[in-house]
């Protein structure tokens, strides 16, 4: 990078000033924290460090989730928990009322079960494709390619967009009168009903979420790849290993810890799929892309169906399954270590 000397000098001065300020702020805060440390000792300090986070987390994240239990066991349209009549497990009974759990149309709350199966299908395919694309991109960007920074930025950029914008952009491209169908008819092909065909819609919802978030996982994987020492590859190629062998014997095993992080994060996000799809297909066609969070949102907040109890019960069921999954994953990782 060519920076003019003047700018460079100015930047250096600014950086020096900022780092001086940082040191000043740290020293001032050290007066407080140092005093605290003298009062409660080193062993008490970790509590001080987690305290601010724990307070905010407890009040604004944990407490609402606990309140959800109150909603789940009460009924009515009232919003204040203590005005709501106790209904026991009625909300859960409604959700679980099925003659055949594998066939949503036999269930009282058929939409819930459709959402459950849609979500499961989405999670499996989306996570697989997400990891695949992120890995391929990271592997390619890990090569000594010119303009690597540019390509990395290009692949990362969609991560910065809000879900609503992502959905908006792709709707203008994929809708019946959108750009892609315009190109297709221009080339003499038939229009493709991207948004009204259930299979197309389910597939595109997955591809769009891969488009939107892949850059994030790619960066994590790239970081993992770059932490693999280069001399391992040199040694392997001296021993006559080919590309595939060095990939399967060196890259994959050493990348495994990073892969697990990526897998867990993308799994969590996949289960939470909501805003992009909500703005992109609205759950349609029919209920082909109705996922759990949207189901819960529809009953929990959208005004005509205000059935907070049902929504809370559904979210507890969902949360319960996810927590079990997390615990299993933590246990498995502990065993591995």
């Amino acid at each position: 990078m060519f920076v003019q000397p003047g700018i460079k000098r100015a930047r250096n001065a600014l950086e020096a000033a900022l780092s001086g300020l940082y040191d000043l702020v740290i020293s001032l805060l050290d007066l407080i924290f140092g005093t605290l440390q003298r009062l409660i000792g080193v062993r008490g300090m970790p509590y001080i460090f987690v305290l601010p986070n724990l307070l905010i987390f407890g009040i604004f994240i944990l407490l609402p989730m606990l309140l959800n239990f109150v909603y789940a066991f009460t009924g009515g349209a009232s919003f204040t928990p203590f005005d709501r009549p106790w209904v026991g497990t009625a909300n859960f009974d409604r959700l679980m009322d099925c003659t055949n759990y594998l066939e949503p149309r036999t269930c009282g709350e058929d939409l819930f079960w459709r959402a459950v199966y849609n979500t499961l299908g989405y999670v499996v395919i989306q996570v697989a494709l997400m990891v695949l694309f992120a890995l391929v991109t990271a592997l390619i960007l890990n090569r000594s390619i010119k303009a690597r920074g540019f390509f990395r930025s290009v692949f990362f950029y969609p991560v910065l967009l809000s879900p609503i914008v992502v959905a908006l952009i792709w709707k203008w491209i994929l809708q019946e009168n959108g750009l892609l169908n315009g190109i297709l008819t221009g080339l003499g092909y038939e229009k493709i009903p991207f948004l009204v065909n259930a299979q197309w819609a389910q597939f595109l919802v997955i591809m769009i979420s891969v488009w939107a978030f892949m850059g994030f996982y790619m960066l994590i994987l790239l970081a993992g790849l770059q932490s693999i020492p280069a001399d391992l590859y040199e040694a392997a190629s001296m021993d006559g290993a080919n590309h595939w062998q060095s990939f399967s014997k060196i890259t994959m095993p050493l990348l495994m810890p990073t892969m697990v992080v990526v897998l867990v994060l993308s799994l969590i996000r996949a289960f939470q799929v909501f805003d992009i799809v909500f703005a992109f297909t609205g759950g349609g066609p029919g209920t082909a892309t109705l996922y759990l969070v949207q189901y819960i949102y529809n009953y929990g907040f959208s005004s005509p169906n205000k059935q907070f109890g049902l929504a809370a019960a559904a979210s507890l069921l969902m949360g319960g399954v996810l927590v079990v999954l997390t615990v299993i994953q933590l246990v498995v990782r502990r065993e591995e270590n």
């Binding site: 940082y22 009924g75 703005a279 029919g286 005509p304 109890g309």
Partner: protein
């Protein structure tokens, strides 16, 4: 140590910002700069209706088009006439009105006034204006009684809408087909629109907005008794079935842009397809007139035709929005004053004219509104819709003011879409829809 610099830079900016922020937000509460100094009136005996304390009214508003731009000058005029009252118009997304406002009002955090569409959602939470309005008789005499009683006399309808089909007249002319008048059935319209689409090479013949609101008019015209005498919903009626089958036929025979019912928006309109000139007939409503005039321009001629006729008559569905006052307001006198101002014939007519909407105010409607346009298509469409108003059946009127109308609107859109996409049979769809509506009502009454 770059991170430390970044960190410090952020810290520095944040400290500065929060300092400014406190200054910026707290200053107005102590010395409101927009407020004319109240004590000026002290040497002259203050008129009794001018409050001594400056009063702030929060008015939560949403706009489909230019409504906010039209009401702002009216509110400015009101504030000029009433120096003690400041009205703040909060223009919010419709989503806020639909989802957030009921919860806010429930928790006592609501505004003083709002523009709403779900007339039944605030039962018992609106301010009974009759005891606050200086001329309550005028208020009660000039608005349709069913709407006022649905609102609990807590507001007034600021615009009336009615559903009805738009037709692309240019395509009919090109196909050499005469546009039929009153008394045509939906089957006949379907056949005609198909004929025109084929003759002109246009992709789609006929469509209807994705909501139970638009769907109800044709269904009732075909004989559906959606709301019975006890004002309960019954969806499984022959008329409802017939119209559902007609719409299904449109989808199966590729007569209709499928994205309207199977695509994204919760309320999807066929008007976008109609505007592109690729659709012969679109069943929507009077609120589309402005957008059509603007977006179609000179591309083709469009007209509003009477609602098709069937066993149940020929009815659209009424709709519209209302300006309401909440019972929780601290300033009922001032809120009532603003409403009294807005419902004065002159001001109400100015709003109708500016937004090209049908007046729900009888006095204004009788006097006629001088709409701000010389576009003959717009004027013709407005009078065509005006002619639809007296044709509304009792059932169609009561649907609009039914306390659970929205439970029917939204659920039916989703369930009918499931039927159209082939996920549910007609019978399953009707059973599920009935269940959804019953559940929503049962839960609300617990």
């Amino acid at each position: 140590m770059k991170i430390s610099k970044l960190f410090t830079a952020l810290l520095l900016v944040a400290v500065l910002l929060s300092a400014c922020k406190t200054a910026a937000t707290e200053a107005p509460t102590t010395v409101p700069p927009t407020q004319p100094p109240a004590p000026v009136a002290t040497d002259v005996p203050a008129p009794t209706d001018v409050p001594v304390q400056p009063v702030e009214i929060r008015f939560t508003y949403y706009a489909d088009g230019v409504e906010a731009d039209v009401i702002k000058p009216l509110i400015d005029k009101f504030m000029a006439d009433n120096p003690g009252i400041t009205v703040i118009l909060d223009v919010v997304p419709y989503k806020t009105i639909d989802e957030q406002l009921p919860v806010q009002v429930d928790s006592g955090e609501g505004p003083d006034m709002a523009r709403i569409t779900n007339f039944g959602a605030y039962a018992g939470k609106l301010l009974d204006l009759r005891s606050y309005l200086a001329d309550s008789a005028y208020y009660e005499a000039n608005f349709p009684a069913p709407i006022l009683s649905a609102l609990g006399y807590g507001g007034y309808p600021d615009a009336l809408t009615v559903t009805g089909p738009f037709v692309n007249k240019t395509l009919f002319d090109q196909a050499g087909v005469e546009i039929p008048g009153e008394g045509t059935t939906w089957e006949e319209w379907t056949a005609l629109a198909k004929q025109v689409a084929e003759a002109t090479g246009v992709q789609y013949a006929i469509s209807i907005d994705r909501t139970g609101h638009r769907f109800a008019g044709p269904a009732m015209s075909m004989g559906a008794t959606l709301i019975n005498a006890e004002s309960n919903f019954t969806v499984d009626t022959p008329g409802f079935r017939s119209f559902a089958e007609i719409v299904k036929g449109w989808h199966d025979n590729a007569l209709t842009p499928q994205e309207v019912w199977l695509g994204a928006e919760p309320v999807n309109s066929c008007i976008a397809a109609f505007k592109s000139g690729q659709l012969v007939m679109c069943m929507s409503g009077s609120w589309q007139i402005n957008g059509l005039a603007k977006d179609v321009g000179d591309a083709f001629d469009w007209v509003v035709v009477p609602n098709p006729t069937g066993a149940g008559g020929s009815t659209g569905i009424a709709g519209g929005s209302a300006v309401v006052a909440f019972a929780g307001t601290q300033h009922p006198q001032e809120v009532a004053k603003l409403i009294a101002f807005l419902i004065q014939a002159e001001n109400y007519a100015a709003f109708s004219a500016g937004t090209s909407s049908l007046p729900a105010h009888t006095g204004v409607a009788e006097a006629g509104v001088a709409f701000n346009t010389d576009n003959p298509m717009v004027l013709a469409a407005l009078s065509a819709y005006t002619a639809e108003v007296p044709k509304l059946t009792d059932q169609a009127v009561s649907l609009n003011v039914h306390p659970y109308a929205f439970a029917y609107y939204r659920n039916s859109a989703n369930r009918i879409a499931q039927y159209l996409s082939g996920e549910l049979t007609l019978d399953e769809m009707l059973v599920n829809l009935q269940q959804d509506i019953d559940n929503a009502i049962a839960e609300a009454q617990k």
